[in-house]
Structures are given as structure tokens and as C-alpha cells.
């Protein structure tokens, strides 16, 4: 061996393969760990989001129920009558109420439909409409 000759170490292919395998496994482990951590962070994030949405839904449901109660209170007959009287409305007098029977003209000339605007007409009282 002269001075120009350099020592060259032949790489062991098995050691190289082992090194790559360790590297890959390590990378996989780290990647997996990072993935788990990421998922965990995402899970926590989503949990917060879910919680916020749940709370929002609860608030909306609460509002709906409170509004339903308010509607029921506002629609109570005593209040409606009081407001109607304040507006100057009165119950119609007897002569102000007219009984009307409604007929739908049909090809046969007979009343095809028979419904009342003011009151339900008993059967058998349908008249042939003038046309």
C-alpha cells in the first residue's frame, strides 16, 4: 500500500438495510406520534366546538320555549278580549251576522261543493245555483 492509496471501507449492505429500517420505523413512530397528537388536538378542538354548538342549541331551545310561553300568554282569551275592547271592537249584534251557504257551480248544474262561510249547513239544504 503506497501513500496514494486510501483506506476504503466496504459498506456492509446488511447494516445499511438495518439503518434504513430503523430510520423508517423511527420516522413512522414519530409521524404516528405526531399524527396522534394532531388528532388529539383536533379532537379537543372539535370537542370545544361541539360544546359551543350544544350550548348554542340549548340557548336557542330555551329561547323558543320562552317565546312559546310568551305567545300563549299573549293569545290568552282574556288578554285578546281586553285588547279588542281597547281597540273599540265589540261582538257583532245578531242582525250583523248573516248565514251564508257557498256553492261551487258544476257541469250538472247541481251544487258540487257545499260549504258555509258563517255556519255549517245541514245536509239536504243545498240549492241549485243561479247561472
Amino acid at each position: 500500500m503506497n501513500i496514494h492509496q486510501r483506506l476504503h471501507q466496504e459498506q456492509d449492505p446488511r447494516a445499511r438495510r438495518a439503518f434504513i429500517a430503523v430510520l423508517l420505523v423511527s420516522a413512522a413512530l414519530v409521524g404516528g406520534a405526531l399524527g396522534v397528537v394532531g388528532l388529539r388536538v383536533q379532537q379537543v378542538h372539535l370537542a370545544y366546538q361541539l360544546d359551543r354548538l350544544r350550548s348554542e342549541r340549548q340557548q336557542i331551545e330555551t329561547s323558543i320555549r320562552q317565546l312559546e310561553v310568551e305567545i300563549a300568554t299573549l293569545q290568552s282569551p282574556a288578554r285578546v278580549e281586553q285588547r279588542a275592547r281597547q281597540l273599540g271592537l265589540v261582538a257583532p249584534a245578531r242582525q250583523q251576522v248573516r248565514l251564508a251557504r257557498e256553492y261551487v257551480p258544476a257541469g250538472t248544474g247541481l251544487a258540487a261543493a257545499h260549504r258555509s262561510r258563517v255556519a255549517v249547513a245541514p245536509d239536504g239544504e243545498a240549492r241549485i245555483p243561479i247561472r
Partner: protein
């Protein structure tokens, strides 16, 4: 080296021993004493709470809420976590309206958990949360609300801390209450509140109940009953409205009453009592209808049969019973029409005790109606074997027998329903939290008490009571009313004789007589300034009945219907709004004259034509665009008027 080895072994032994000790202790704490210590820890830092389920709503027959639950929050404290009880109490007191000293004692309690205020209004809860005081927390608890206040209070009842206490709230407690859930209340290692995350079991809401009550009819009944109760200063007043066709209770109005939102604000608990089902009373003359039904069905008497009314008094078993007026000969119809005691007693004696008793029980007296309300009375109807010599005559005029208002109106409903007694129905259906019907209660016929023929005859006689007899104040314009007045004295417990003071004044009837849509009882108990049922109770029947029939769209029997032809109008004429007042054409000497109606609304045109009394046919909708006959043409007697209407949209 040889010196070192025993030392290492000793050290290893000591370490092994220490480790074994630690493991042993761990095992002791974690396994053997786990239960005790876990319970102790939970007692110290957390507590399992019952989460109340949302109670099911109670609605009327059209779905309008009569009782509903609103989410509210209840404030609690964990005294050990409260920083400065004095400061917290002073900050909370003005918000809650609770004395500071009371709050301080709660906040310094030795218990790990104390309720500070249950079911706070949302605004107060928000104000307390804004204080951000450690040691305070909230749990959801539904608040029961009755949006119509006193309306139907006796039917709906109310809810106390332990569930329904009166009315439907009590009767259907199992259905309404739902299943409670569980939550753990506590704090984590950083002192943060953990409430929502530790709900172990969510509460299942209760089922809703739909009643047969109609909110509007109930209101009409309560409005009139309330006015009468105040005017007459009666001890109590009530009205019950029933649909005789199916037994549906449409209204049950009772005075005195209470507001179920503040049910403790009453002078006496008597106000809570639903007297319609709990308080039996001697019905008096209204019971003569039951006697008449039995006598007609058994053929003992016919409407035209003449009865000698003994000039106003009859003596039986040494007791003389009077009529309010001296009558001579009366037909059976007139006996009922004039409410003759003597005539009724004679019919009762002819009928006999066994047959009369059979019909009384047949009509449901002496038995529960099955309406399902707590505290219902059977009334008092003694067995025939326990009747005295005076029992049959006095029962013939509605004494010595006591009935509830519901029994009475159900019996009259049977006559209105062709003789078939229907079980009074108060609950129509049960529905789940999504509003889906899960159980329905169908109308239930109890029995055929009298034949349809007898029911029709009796209805005719009762119609005469209102048209020309003691019940004339119950008449409703445009409708035939069948009914009977009642004026009953009360037994004075001191003297054991009937008191002379006004007792029970009532009217029971149904309308329209030929095709009944409502059966109603009106009763005033001991009114101070009224003496007769015909004067006190009958006008209330008329006022409620008139409103109810109009509300139910029942056509008056004397109204000539107006024919309206629906559908698109064939006329091409454009409507022209006419705002000037329309003058009604005066009929000439030879008859009536057709007025100008073009441009008028239907309402305006009908008002113009009303005085002429002509038949009217209407075609189309909107304003009058054509009329026949033409304006100014004399109207022959038999000719009707035809109006053609059109709206701008239909052009």
C-alpha cells in the same frame, strides 16, 4: 469486591421491602378501601344530582297550551369552594331578593352542596353568572307555567315540589312527569366548574296531554260565571259545558278560583277545590226532568195527561209540601213548565220507588262519572231499602238526593243525545315530546237510559219550559233551548230543617233543542241577593250559550241563508269602488224598489238590502259589478235579487 456484594444485597433487600410496602399500601387503598375512599372523595368534591325531566304540556282541544314548562336554572353553592361568604352574600342578596343573613348561613353551611335559589328567571340567572363568584353553580330545572292564569285552573290543577297536586296535573302525574336524569356536580383539579360534562343520564321529557276543554268556551263560561259570582256575592258559582254527542267536557268554570302560577296566594285551600266534581248538592227542581224521563219511558204519564195540583199543597207523612203558586189542573207538560211540586210528587208516587231508583242509577246518579279527576264524589243516592215514607215524594222534587254538577249535566246530556248516557270525557289524547299522538281516549257510551222517542218527547216539554215557562230567561235568540230551572233550599245543620235562605239556584239545559251541540249546567251556591234559579242562573245560561253557539258556528234556526256561488266570475265588468254612502231606495206605493248596489262591498250591499227582506243570491267575490233587477226597478213580491261580484284581481 467480595465486601461489596453483601452490601448490595442488603440494599436491594431494603429497597424490595420498601417497594413491597408501597405496593401493599397501594393495594390496600386501591382495592380493599376503594369503595369507602371513592365515596368519601365524591362526598367531598362532587355530588350526584337528580335532573328533573321536562314535564309534558297540557293543551286544550285545539292545541293551545294550558300548562307548559319553561327551562329555568337553579342556583346552588358548594360552601367549601366559596371564597368569602360575607362578600358573596352581600353581592347575591340584591339580585335574589333574599336577606343577606339567610344567604350567609347557606354559604357557610357544613354541607358540601346547598341550593341557594330554585328556578331563577333567566335575567336573574344571567346577573348571578356575571358575578363570576367561585363556589356558585347552576343546574337546569324546568319551571311550570300556566299562561292563561286562572283559566281552567280547577281542571288543569297545579304542580308542587313533589309533582302534580290538583286537577289533571295530579290525575295524570305518571304521564306528565317524565323520567328524571342524573348529573354529577363538582370541580376539577384547577377549580373549574364541571357540570355539563358530567350529565350521567339525560332526563326523558314527560308526555303531553290534550284535554277536551276548549279554551274559548272555557273563557266564555268563566267570564259570565265570574261576573255572576261577584254580582250575587254567592259562596260559589260554577258552569259546566258538555258536548252531549260524545260527552266531551268543553268547559268547567268554578268560582272562587286561584292562579296556578301562584297557587299558594289564596285565602283558603277551598279555592283549589273543583266543586264541579267534589261538591254534591241537592238539585231541586232540575231533578224533575229525571222523574219525567222515567215516568214517560215507563208509560206512567203522557205529556197531555191532566194532573190535579191540589191548589198548591200536598200533605204526605204529616209533612206539607207547597207549590210556589196555587195550581189547579195541569197537563204533565205544564207540571214541568211551571215546575209544580205537587204535580211532580203525584207522578213520582205513580211511578213507584223501585222504578224511579232504577232510572236515577241509570242516569248515573250515586256513581262516579269516570271523568278521572281526583276527589270526585258519587253524590248521595240511598238504596231503596233505606228510604222513608217521605223519600219518594221529596226525591220527586230533587230533595233527599245529592248530585254533582258533572253528574247532572251528563244526565241532561243523555236526554239531548237521544237517551244514551255518555261518559264525561276530559282527556282526549296523550302525545309524546315530538307531538305525536300515542294514546287516544274515544267517547264512551255508558248505557241507553231512555228510548230516543222518550228523549224527543222530553226535549219538546223542556223546550216549552224555556219558551213559555220558568226558564224563559235562558232563551237564546235564534235557537230553541231545552232546559229546567232549579231552586233548592239547603238543609240547615243546626235545625235539621230546610233553610229559608237561598240555597242552590241552577239551570240545566241544552241547545239547539233539536240538534244539541251543548249541554250546560249553571249553578250559584247561596247567592246573597237572588232567590230564584230562573232569575239568577237562567240568564247566565243564555249568555254563555249564545256565545258558545256563535263560536261553534251553529246556524240560528230563524236565519234565511244567503246563497253564494263560488268560483271565477264570468262577468268582464270591472269593479268600481264606490265610497259614497248608499241611500236605501224607499219602497213605492206599489211595492219595493231595487236600490243601486254597484260598487258596494257585499257587506254594504247586504245591509242595504236587509230592510227589503228579499232573497239574495251572490255570484263571485269582491265588489258588486252587476245586479238584477236593475236599480230603480220595482221588486215584485216573489223575486229575489242576484248580485254579481268581481274583484280587481279577477279581471
Amino acid at each position: 469486591m467480595s465486601d461489596l456484594r453483601p452490601r448490595v444485597l442488603v440494599l436491594a433487600g431494603i429497597l424490595a421491602l420498601a417497594f413491597t410496602g408501597v405496593v401493599g399500601r397501594l393495594g390496600w387503598l386501591q382495592i380493599v378501601r376503594h369503595g369507602d375512599l371513592a365515596a368519601l372523595a365524591e362526598r367531598q368534591y362532587s355530588r350526584t344530582m337528580v335532573l328533573q325531566a321536562q314535564r309534558g304540556p297540557i293543551v286544550d282541544r285545539s292545541g293551545a297550551p294550558l300548562a307548559t314548562s319553561s327551562p329555568a336554572e337553579s342556583l346552588f353553592a358548594q360552601p367549601r369552594a366559596v371564597g368569602d361568604p360575607v362578600r358573596v352574600a352581600s353581592r347575591l342578596a340584591p339580585l335574589l331578593g333574599t336577606p343577606e343573613i339567610e344567604l350567609h348561613s347557606l354559604l357557610t353551611s357544613s354541607r358540601p352542596f346547598v341550593w341557594i335559589h330554585r328556578r331563577l328567571p333567566p335575567s336573574t340567572a344571567a346577573a348571578v353568572k356575571a358575578l363570576r363568584e367561585p363556589g356558585l353553580g347552576f343546574l337546569p330545572e324546568p319551571l311550570r307555567l300556566y299562561p292563561n292564569r286562572e283559566l281552567a285552573a280547577h281542571v288543569v290543577g297545579f304542580e308542587g315540589v313533589d309533582g302534580g297536586l290538583e286537577g289533571i296535573e295530579r290525575a295524570l302525574e305518571e304521564t306528565l312527569r317524565g323520567t328524571p336524569g342524573k348529573a354529577v356536580v363538582g370541580r376539577d383539579a384547577l377549580g373549574r366548574e364541571v357540570v355539563t360534562e358530567t350529565v350521567l343520564q339525560r332526563p326523558a321529557p314527560g308526555q303531553g296531554v290534550m284535554l277536551t276543554i276548549d279554551r274559548t268556551i272555557q273563557y266564555l263560561a268563566e267570564r259570565e260565571i265570574d261576573a255572576a259570582w261577584r254580582r250575587t256575592k254567592a259562596k260559589a258559582a260554577m258552569a259546566v259545558v258538555l258536548d252531549p254527542r260524545n260527552g266531551d267536557v268543553l268547559a268547567m268554570a268554578v268560582r272562587p278560583t286561584f292562579n296556578p302560577n301562584a297557587f299558594l296566594d289564596v285565602p283558603s285551600r277551598e279555592h283549589w277545590r273543583n266543586r264541579v266534581v267534589t261538591d254534591p248538592f241537592e238539585p231541586g227542581s232540575t231533578f224533575k226532568v229525571i222523574l219525567a224521563a222515567a215516568a214517560l219511558e215507563e208509560g206512567v204519564v203522557r205529556p197531555e195527561d191532566r194532573i190535579w195540583a191540589e191548589n198548591g199543597s200536598i200533605t204526605i207523612a204529616k209533612i206539607t209540601i207547597h207549590d210556589w203558586k196555587k195550581y189547579g189542573w195541569l197537563t204533565f207538560g205544564e207540571v214541568l213548565q211551571n215546575s209544580s211540586n205537587v204535580g211532580s210528587i203525584k207522578v213520582g208516587l205513580a211511578l213507584g220507588r223501585d222504578r224511579y231508583y232504577r232510572y236515577m242509577t241509570g242516569f248515573g246518579f250515586g256513581a262516579l262519572t269516570g271523568v278521572g279527576l281526583a276527589g270526585e264524589s258519587r253524590g248521595q243516592l240511598r238504596d231503596v231499602s233505606r228510604w222513608s215514607a217521605l223519600s219518594l215524594p221529596t226525591m220527586s222534587i230533587g230533595q233527599e238526593v245529592s248530585v254533582t254538577a258533572l253528574q247532572m249535566v251528563a244526565a241532561f246530556g243523555a236526554i239531548a243525545n237521544g237517551g244514551t248516557l255518555m261518559q264525561p270525557r276530559l282527556v282526549r289524547s296523550v302525545f309524546d315530546a315530538q307531538g305525536k299522538e300515542i294514546r287516544r281516549f274515544e267517547p264512551k257510551p255508558v248505557r241507553q237510559v231512555v228510548s230516543p222517542e222518550t228523549a224527543r218527547t222530553l226535549t219538546r216539554l223542556m223546550t216549552q219550559v224555556v219558551a213559555a215557562g220558568t226558564g224563559h230567561n235562558a232563551a237564546i235568540a235564534g235557537y230553541d233551548v231545552a232546559g229546567k230551572t232549579g231552586t233548592a233550599q239547603k238543609l240547615d245543620p243546626a235545625t235539621r230543617r230546610y233553610s229559608r235562605n237561598p240555597g242552590v239556584l241552577s239551570f240545566v239545559g241544552f241547545a239547539p233543542a233539536q240538534e244539541p251541540r251543548l249541554a250546560m249546567l249553571v249553578m250559584l251556591d247561596e247567592p246573597k241577593n237572588e232567590k230564584w234559579g230562573s232569575e239568577a242562573a237562567a240568564p247566565i245560561f243564555s249568555a254563555i250559550g249564545g256565545g258558545v253557539l256563535r263560536y261553534l258556528d251553529v246556524p240560528p234556526s230563524d236565519a234565511t241563508p244567503l246563497a253564494i256561488v263560488a268560483g271565477p266570475s264570468e262577468t268582464a265588468a270591472a269593479p268600481r269602488v264606490r265610497s259614497a254612502p248608499i241611500e236605501v231606495a224607499e219602497p213605492g206605493s206599489d211595492g219595493r224598489v231595487m236600490p243601486e248596489l254597484r260598487g258596494q262591498t257585499l257587506r254594504h250591499a247586504l245591509a242595504t238590502l236587509a230592510p227589503l227582506g228579499v232573497g239574495i243570491k251572490v255570484d263571485g267575490r269582491g265588489l258588486v259589478v252587476a245586479q238584477a233587477p236593475a236599480p230603480g226597478v220595482a221588486l215584485p213580491a216573489e223575486t229575489g235579487v242576484r248580485l254579481t261580484l268581481a274583484s280587481s284581481a279577477s279581471r
